[in-house]
């Protein structure tokens, strides 16, 4: 660090929507809706007289799971109460937000101290341009994870958030739709005032917002300007932070225990049960995979960062190191590409039982590694198996096409692929792939490509003779 250049102190408040069937204090379904104000009732629209129906037990459990995974301990006595945080905003129909006392505190995760994890209700959505409010989101349970200002670079924050998102994915406790996680970032330099960037809507934008803020604050100091305590928001399009208000004193939210909500007592037995059901941590998984299957540390770590891929890898259970490495490579290259593509389109459907997929992945990995199948075809096959609403994985697992049916399909395909067949016979071996593709398509991707290739080679070679 150069002299005169203060150390950056960055802290995070991460608000993640919890994955529950219903909202926190009423029976309305939680999650995205087709049109505005459809998932609402007297409670979540704060009609006069409507009372909270009790705290959603699943939301409480999910918050505790998150707290435990980031190293927090449940407060002594296990008592969690709700407070009212008062402020005026159009998306908050009560003009107060219900927020709990910590469900966990004093954690340590990826080098940062976790001050606390608590539960709260999401406000609705206010469109300032149209002056309209959508209350469907209002009352969705959120977990808020608060760190100490322990980060000093945007890169540290990025690594932390990557690890955190892996853990949240492992837990399956949070919603994954765009905008379902929002982050408040506070940035200050030694002695300088705290600047808060509110409501950043993705982990990626957190990195950009901090980068921008670091540069802005450095420039201000260089020009001898004072950094004021202020609140701003991150403008996604311009990739800059814009000041929304200057804070002279701390807000007074008039915190006050909610008289309508009976505090929850988490018994040691309950906490022990939740603890016992927690998934293995990504770090532990990486170590275990590396040891058990003799794959490289790099691949083991990469697999551990993707819950679905690691599960597929374990379902395949490769027999030796060579096969294991090939399988890992196939998953981390071809499969991951398909998964990311499908995830982006919201079409990824991974079945709960993976043993039916094991055979396919083990053979596909080998075929790709040995050059018997192109990556492109392999990816199409993967897509066919995991794209929601297409060939349901259920079809694939039960109605695998075999022997005679494959032969029939090959003969049929060859009628339309005369050119490719001739190319193959003239020695252009790669031409076989377009025929395999046709066959697979005709069979609804339900055949084993290796068997298709064997049949095809047999037929073409006999023609050659």
């Amino acid at each position: 660090m150069k002299a005169g250049e203060g150390r950056m102190m960055i802290g995070l408040e991460i608000h993640a929507q919890l994955l529950t069937a219903s909202k926190l204090f009423c029976f309305c379904p939680a999650g995205p809706t087709q049109s505005p104000n459809t998932s609402i009732c007297p409670v979540c629209t704060a009609q006069p007289g409507a009372k909270p129906a009790g705290t959603n037990a699943r939301a409480m459990e999910q918050a505790v799971r998150i707290a435990l995974m980031v190293g927090c301990t449940v407060p002594e006595g296990g008592r969690v109460a709700f407070l009212r945080k008062h402020y005026f905003y159009p998306d908050l129909p009560n003009n107060y937000q219900r927020t709990s006392t910590p469900v966990g505190a004093d954690g340590l995760f990826c080098g940062a101290r976790i001050r606390e994890v608590h539960l709260e209700e999401d406000p609705g959505r206010y469109d300032i341009r149209k002056d309209k409010v959508d209350l469907s989101r209002c009352g969705t349970p959120l977990a808020e994870i608060v760190t100490d200002p322990d980060f000093s670079t945007p890169e540290e924050v990025r690594l932390f958030l990557k690890k955190l998102s892996t853990v949240l994915d492992y837990l399956g406790a949070t919603r994954m739709e765009a905008g379902s996680t929002r982050i408040d970032v506070n940035v200050s330099t030694d002695g300088g005032r705290k600047v808060e960037v509110k409501n950043v809507n993705s982990f990626h934008n957190v990195y950009r917002a901090i980068k921008y803020e670091v540069i802005r604050q450095k420039n201000m100091r260089r020009r001898g300007l004072e950094i004021l305590q202020e609140t701003c928001h991150f403008d996604e399009l311009q990739k800059i932070t814009i000041s929304s208000r200057q804070k002279e004193s701390a807000d007074d939210y008039r915190y006050f225990p909610d008289p309508d909500i009976v505090p929850i007592e988490l018994s040691p037995r309950e906490v022990a049960r939740i603890c016992a059901d927690l998934p293995e941590s990504p770090d532990a998984k990486a170590q275990r995979l590396q040891g058990a299957f003799s794959i490289s540390a790099k691949n083991a770590r990469a697999l551990s960062e993707h819950k679905d891929l690691a599960a597929l890898f374990e379902a395949v259970r490769p027999r030796d190191g060579k096969r294991a490495e090939a399988c890992a490579e196939f998953l981390l290259n071809d499969t991951l590409r398909v998964f990311n593509y499908l995830k982006k389109k919201g079409l990824l459907a991974v079945p709960e039982k993976l043993e039916y997929e094991a055979e396919f992945f083990s053979q596909a990995a080998e075929a790709v590694a040995s050059g018997k199948m192109t990556g492109k075809l392999a990816r199409r096959l993967v897509q066919a198996r995991f794209e929601a609403g297409r060939t349901g994985p259920a079809d694939v697992e039960t109605r695998q096409v075999e022997g005679a049916e494959i032969e029939r399909a090959v003969h049929e395909a060859l009628k339309g692929q005369k050119g490719a067949a001739e190319d193959y016979c003239r020695g252009k071996k790669a031409a076989i792939h377009s025929i395999v593709g046709e066959v697979m398509k005709a069979l609804g991707y339900r055949a084993d490509p290796k068997k298709v290739i064997t049949v095809l080679e047999k037929i073409l070679n006999s023609k050659q003779r």
């Binding site: 007297p42 409670v43 704060a46 009609q47 006069p48 007289g49 409507a50 009372k51 909270p52 129906a53 009790g54 705290t55 009212r84 008062h86 005026f88 159009p90 129909p93 009560n94 003009n95 107060y96 007074d252 008039r254 915190y255 006050f256 008289p259 309508d260 909500i261 009976v262």
Partner: protein
Amino acid sequence: MGAAAGTISQMVERAVAKAEKLNGKLNAFITIDGAGALARAKELEGQEGVMREHGALFGKIIAVKDNIAVKGLRCTASSRTLENYVAPYTATVIERLLERGAIVIGKTNMDEFAAGGGGTSGHFGPVRNPYCLERVPGGSSSGSAVAVAAGIVDFAIGTDTAGSIRAPAAFCGLCGFRPTWGAASRHGLLDLGMSMDTPCPIARGPDDLIAAFEAMRGRDDRDQSSLDERRTSVGSRPVLGVPEEFFQGVDKEVEEIVRKAIDGLGMETKDVSIPSSKYGVPVYYLTVFAEFSSAMQKYDGIRYGISEGDIYKTRRAAFGAEVKRRVLLGTYITLKEHSSRWVAAAARVRGILAREVDAVFAKGADFLVGPTMPFVPWIHGKEITDPLQNYLADVLTVQANLCGIPAGSVPAGDIRGLPVGLQVHGPRGHDDAVLGLMKLAYGKVGSRAQANLKLDGRLLSAP
């Protein structure tokens, strides 16, 4: 009304006509739903066979305080803010009464947001005492009490946060019951002091009161604090505790009538003491200011009622003086710098008071008895020259709300035609025992006291 009989539709028509005729003098109703009530009566007549068997309240004509939601009817809480608010749902307790065959004919007048003890602070004007129109009926469930006392409805539903059902019961010569906090669902009850609010029945005699409470009570998934608790540990020869504090500052004539009524019960009595009850009123007000200011936060002129440009102007115009006083004080005491001093201190003293009351019950008293109100109904306007009038009116009733215990008021006698009430308290969860004692008291003292009351002559003459 039962005696007059006829079909249900005819009874409803008569009740609605009476309500309309008397409303000019009593101002008991904010909304009279003649058409809705008649439609409901016809519907019930169609189900008569089933309903006679299962509907414990079949054909009972009732009125509901205007701070309780009934779907499709205005729910104003006597506030300009909610002048045009129509409830989109029905409160659980009202749903349960309707299921058993009751018919709602209207919504009754009250103090604005139930913040008052006289029935005089609402946006729709003061409610009149049917025994003397110049005097207050007691509040805040004023219209509910008056509708019963004037013989318009069989029973009515109100709320009680500091005595709001017991005060008008005492001032109107009726039986009013405030259940254990949580014994009946609060879903659909507009907030005043949420840790003390309870829905309550008010009726002439204990039978309607018991039938109404039986329908209303029990766990409701829409109110987390509601319970199914029914405790029955009162012995066969119960002892009445008579706290000395319940008679301090009480009008001499009132004291005389109430002591005579207690003697008239023919039960063993025991002098007891609850020293912290002198803090009851300040603790109650600190608690209610804090809770009420939080609850009122939503009435910002954007969602409800009127808007005068900005939030400050809106709230100035939308609320009456008492509501504004409470919101301002509540906001002040919940500010970060004051909250530990005021709100936390109130919670602490509230805990001490509850323990003292528990101890009295544990040491041999099955009930606590005393007067309901320290004086007879005052003349309209007196609370304006003497703002402490309202506050003093709560002195004897707030203990039950602070402790969450059941309590009721039964007629004890009258002072020159103005009713006096006997108040009964029981331990938490002993709602049935309190109602049982009220029934006994009504039989021995109350019914005779009630029979001596004469409605104001001006009500009998044609409008």
